[in-house]
């Protein structure tokens, strides 16, 4: 790995950026929409209750799934781009 130290650093930074972005969404849907921001979203009705409740019991879980698959897909691409993927 020493011969590619510059690339290796860029690769790790790309990974950290992707993780950081994903965790912002992760926190926003669960701690944000479902808990702390729920009163602000109370005006948006969803089937007999409000959007915050929906995020707490359905929306956050659905978002988590999308986040992991997105991460896996993007990371596997980044692996290939930097040539660190496995054959």
């Amino acid at each position: 790995m020493s011969g590619h130290s510059y690339d290796a650093e860029q690769y790790w930074k790309a990974n950290l950026r992707l993780i950081f972005g994903s965790l912002i969404v992760w926190a926003l849907v669960s701690y944000g929409f479902a808990i702390l921001l729920r009163p602000m979203l109370a005006g948006i009705g969803v089937g007999g209750t409000d959007l915050g409740f929906w995020f707490a019991q359905q929306g956050s879980i659905l978002t988590f799934i999308v986040l992991i698959f997105h991460y896996a897909w993007r990371m596997n691409k980044i692996d290939e781009k930097f040539g660190v993927h496995e054959e």
């Binding site: 690769y11 993780i19 701690y31 808990i35 089937g47 019991q57 956050s60 659905l62 896996a72 660190v84």
Partner: protein, 588 residues
């Protein structure tokens, strides 16, 4: 055919399947035993993680918790799924790249310290043993309810079945039985939920049904539910909570704890490549979500069903007469999990919230107290009976509950036995042990772990009820931060990691013990476990997240005050970050 015979066919059939898999998937090497040979497909692994993760608590208790707490208990739904995001991005791929067999092994190698490894082994064993007792006890209860055998006898039958596939097959046997168990448990959970959703809303997908119109009243289901329960003095189902800080910290503790539980992490060691570890995180959550998206629907619908059963003509009219109670109430009364006491001796079942605020209303109706107590855990088990579903669905639920308990128990037992045979016996006492000798040691450790877990399941000690506090608290405050820092920081050294783990752990345990009693011995708590006494309103169940922060902070401060880790350790950290070469690393 009697219900007993149907249950026997379903449970017996599923057990024969598991034993068949045990004979087929025999472990030939330690690599088979610890990581199923390392060749498990990511989707297969996802399903196995689903069963490994979803325990008796998820299958039996969670919907009941949500039904009772409504919105406030959404914490379990988010906490027990959101941890997989952390796992898939912060731990699993790199630990897979590291390519060894156990979680303590990574901690020992990364922090070049056999003491760090020992701390990790102890944390792993305490968390996993606490967890496994609940599974064994749950299996015993399911047996006694559905197969009319004594709970201890049921427990022994369950233990023998686990023994067959876990001792023979190790992770290999466990992986494929977990896949079968996932199928059994998800079908068992979903079928009654679909029927109930159809009955109440006409929508076959429960997660959508709970947000659609209640056919009978024409109101949205949740509006109807809020109406019915507030009429009887209960809080609104969808009511917001006041203590948001505690809700956030509890959810965070469950998430970090989930990501730090060794029995889940080791499942990621079984896939061939780093990319597969990432994919299997996604698949695992898909399989888990099938149950977790259905559970809140089951919760709200079962709560409404219960209320309309007791008040068939609406909450303004009189409740049903005790003599006219449905059959399922009678059956569960036998188990003592539903109790009725006719306090005002009018022969009717008054079910309402016995609060000060509702007293005037209750008095005016001649009610002298709530008369029906329903144990929360029966909600899922009684679901098919409440919805008048055919007998085979009940048989399915019995097999499903057992699948959930046994699959999680097996995963935990593997985590425990591999920590004993690989980290303690090979790692500490006899490094020169041959592969064959270690495989034998692993089998013996597994057998001993099963015997101990069975004994403790039949005679649960007081701490067994504290799974959330103890297992998740320890995983969050000690293991998760040590693993994450081991990957994301090259600077954290042996002293920092050990100081971090010990301080996170001590901080968390002390806070829990102050409210719940030292070592959970009743009466030894310093403060009553009530919200007024909690520091900043933080419950002892939510403290794991703060413990994790303590761990991170102490580890950084101590590491920066002491020497850098050796060059070869910094190179090890480099190597776990880059996927290339994972295949070779595992063949050691």
């Amino acid at each position: 055919m009697s219900q007993f015979a149907i249950n026997l066919i379903f449970v017996g059939g599923s057990f024969l399947l598991y034993i068949g898999i045990a004979i087929w998937a025999k472990a030939g090497s330690t690599k088979d035993f610890y990581v199923a040979g390392g060749g498990v497909h990511p989707i297969t692994n996802g399903a196995a993680i689903g069963a490994d993760w979803m325990s008796a608590a998820s299958f039996i208790s969670m919907a009941g918790l949500i039904a009772a707490g409504g919105y406030a208990n959404s914490t379990f739904l988010m906490g027990w799924t959101g941890g997989y995001v952390l796992l898939a991005m912060l731990l699993a791929p790199y630990l897979r790249k590291f390519g060894k067999f156990t979680v303590p092994e990574f901690i020992g190698d990364r922090y070049y310290s056999s003491n760090a490894r020992l701390v990790a082994v102890i944390c792993l064993i305490v968390a996993s043993v606490t967890y496994v007792i609940g599974q064994m006890a749950g299996a015993g209860v399911a047996f006694s309810r559905f197969l009319e055998v004594d709970a201890t006898m049921g427990l022994i039958i369950a233990a023998v079945v686990v023994f067959m596939y876990a001792v023979l097959g190790g992770m290999k046997g466990i992986t494929y039985t977990q896949v079968a168990q996932y199928c059994v448990l998800i079908v068992a959970y979903t079928i009654p939920a679909v029927f109930i959703s159809l009955q109440l809303t006409g929508n076959p997908i429960p997660g959508l049904g709970m947000f659609s119109t209640h056919t009978e009243s024409g109101l949205p289901l949740l509006t109807k539910l809020n109406q019915v329960i507030t009429d009887l003095g209960f809080n609104e189902y969808t009511a917001d909570v006041d203590n948001k800080l505690n809700m956030v910290l509890f959810t965070l503790s469950l998430m970090i704890g989930t990501a730090g539980l060794p029995h889940v992490i080791i499942r990621f060691f079984t896939v061939p490549k780093v990319a597969d570890a990432r994919w299997s995180g996604g698949w695992a959550l898909v399989f888990i979500a099938l149950l977790y998206l259905t559970a809140p629907a089951v919760a709200s619908m079962a709560r409404l069903n219960l209320m309309t059963t007791i008040y068939p003509d609406g909450t303004a009219s009189a409740p049903i007469e005790y003599e006219a109670r449905p059959n399922w109430v009678k059956e569960w009364e036998v188990t003592g999990l539903i109790k009725f006491e006719d306090k005002n001796e009018d022969g009717r079942i008054q079910l309402y919230n016995d609060s000060e605020a509702f007293k005037a209303e209750a008095d005016s109706r001649g009610w002298e107290g709530n008369e029906l107590t329903v144990n929360r855990d029966i909600l899922v088990l009684a679901n098919p009976e409440i919805a008048n579903l055919p007998g085979w669905v009940i048989g399915l639920i019995a097999a499903g509950g057992l699948a959930a308990a046994l699959s999680t128990a097996a995963g935990l037992l593997l985590a425990i036995s591999s920590a004993v045979s690989h980290d303690l016996i090979k790692g500490r006492f006899n490094p020169n042990i041959s592969d064959k000798g270690e495989l034998m040691a692993a089998r013996i450790s597994m057998a001993v772990a099963i015997v101990v877990a069975t004994y403790l399941g039949a005679n649960p000690p007081g701490f067994a009820a504290q799974v959330v506090a103890l297992a998740f608290g320890i995983a969050a405050a000690s293991l998760f931060p040590a693993l994450m820092m081991g990957i994301f920081s090259k600077r954290v050294n042996n002293k920092g990691a050990i100081a971090g783990m010990l301080s996170g752990l001590t901080f968390t345990l002390v806070y829990i013990f102050v409210y719940k009693g030292w070592l959970f011995i009743p009466g030894t708590n310093n403060l009553a476990d009530t919200p007024e006494n909690w520091v900043l309103g933080i419950s002892p169940l939510s403290i794991g997240a703060i413990g994790a922060i303590v761990n991170f902070a102490v580890a950084f401060v101590v590491s920066n005050a002491t020497e850098e880790p050796p060059v070869e350790i910094q190179e090890l950290v480099e190597s776990v970050r880059y996927p290339r070469g994972a295949g070779q690393a595992s063949d050691h």
